[in-house]
């Protein structure tokens, strides 16, 4: 099962800051069991002093492959400037319990991935999103495609 993340995000035009979100998982291999506790700390670097409008943190699953992308949000939290953003930035942490399903799955044309997503909103309406994949369930990846019997 691939262990890694997609770091990066979208940038609006005329952006100056190139933020970087570091996410630390409480399990070094980022492998979790269903219903297990997930503890995450995130640090945000490279803001260049630009003021933040809000930060959104979420834990979600999404599909990847040859079909259109589906996703399900398990946990979501938005912290905006009126709720003490400075207290959150440049770092934050949260602990949640993962659900029973779906499990992470490395299929051929359908993959199910879990990730922590941190989205940063700047004061000038730009946003930056960073995704960090982790594994739930330890399911073996699918092998080769087989010929259909029908």
């Amino acid at each position: 099962m691939p262990q890694g993340s997609i770091a990066g995000g979208s940038q609006g035009s005329g952006s100056t800051a190139m933020p970087r979100v570091m996410v630390h998982f409480d399990r070094p291999g980022r492998d979790y069991a269903p219903r297990q506790q997930l503890a995450v700390r995130h640090d945000i670097e490279g803001l260049g002093g630009e003021p933040l409008r809000a930060v959104e943190r979420s834990v979600l699953w999404y599909t990847e492959g040859k079909g259109e992308e589906d996703l399900g949000v398990h946990w979501f939290e938005r912290i905006d400037e009126t709720e003490g953003l400075l207290a959150v930035s440049p770092w934050g942490e949260f602990t949640i319990r993962l659900p029973m399903s779906p499990l992470s799955y490395e299929g051929l044309i359908v993959k199910v991935r879990w990730c922590v997503r941190v989205r940063i909103f700047f004061a000038d309406n730009r946003d930056f999103v960073s995704e960090h994949v982790f594994d739930v369930g330890g399911i073996s990846p699918a092998r080769a495609p087989l010929e259909r019997l029908e």
Binding site: G4, S5, G12, V21, R27, P28, R30, A39, E93, K111
Partner: protein, 212 residues
């Protein structure tokens, strides 16, 4: 909470198949011209106004029409325009189009994918209503018609190669699981249909990643 000094987030590497629809669906890929160079979306939007507020993006299946439409819509939104996106699947979709036109302020940009699915009468009604509502209209279609062409989407091997290089971990594709020969071969086997070519490359990537 005790956080272990886990692997640094600085050691981030791409996971997954770069040809999955997550990275290649319309709007995810930057629209490029047939040489693989980025299109000036701002200029294209300005051209819509010069064409009387209506234009069509033309091209055969899988040539990038929907991708260009999505990006034009995004560019217009960033400019502060009100944008409505509609995908037509049958002539009955004239109803939501008319509803959107009725509810949109003057100057809005209505982006309609698969224009010819409306049929002749439906298209004429939609055009008339857009004119009455003073809304701009940009559509995708396989062939011309009453709307002036904004862009004609044609594909080349160079275009596909440029798209592949812009995918996540595109730099790692050279000498990796997929090379330029694979890309050229996929283009040829798909008769220029970029969407089909990307699906072929998806399968090839999966096959090689699994060592088959």
């Amino acid at each position: 909470m005790s956080l272990q000094a886990s692997e640094s987030a600085a050691v981030e590497r791409f996971v997954g198949n770069p040809f999955s629809t997550r990275h290649t669906a319309p709007g995810r890929v930057e629209p490029l011209d047939r040489e693989g160079e980025p299109l000036d979306l701002g200029k294209l939007l300005d051209r819509i106004a010069r064409e009387g507020g209506r234009a069509a993006i033309l091209g055969r299946h899988g040539r990038g029409k929907t991708t260009l439409l999505h990006r034009l819509a995004e560019t217009a939104e960033r400019r502060g325009d009100r944008v409505v996106r509609i995908r037509v699947r049958s002539p009955w979709d004239l109803i939501p189009i008319l509803n959107s036109l009725a509810g949109s302020p003057s100057g809005s940009l209505i982006c309609i994918d698969s224009w010819e699915q409306l049929g002749g009468p439906g298209a004429a009604i939609a055009l008339l209503f857009a004119r009455l509502r003073r809304c701009r209209l940009v559509v995708t279609a396989h062939s011309g018609g009453d709307l002036p062409p904004l862009a004609v989407c044609e594909t080349t091997p160079a275009l596909l190669a440029a798209i592949v290089r812009r995918l996540p971990a595109g730099d790692a594709l050279d000498g990796g699981l997929i090379d330029d020969t694979d890309v050229a071969s996929a283009f040829e086997q798909s008769s220029g249909d970029i969407r089909e070519a990307l699906f072929r490359l998806y399968d090839l990537f999966e096959e090689r990643r699994r060592g088959l």
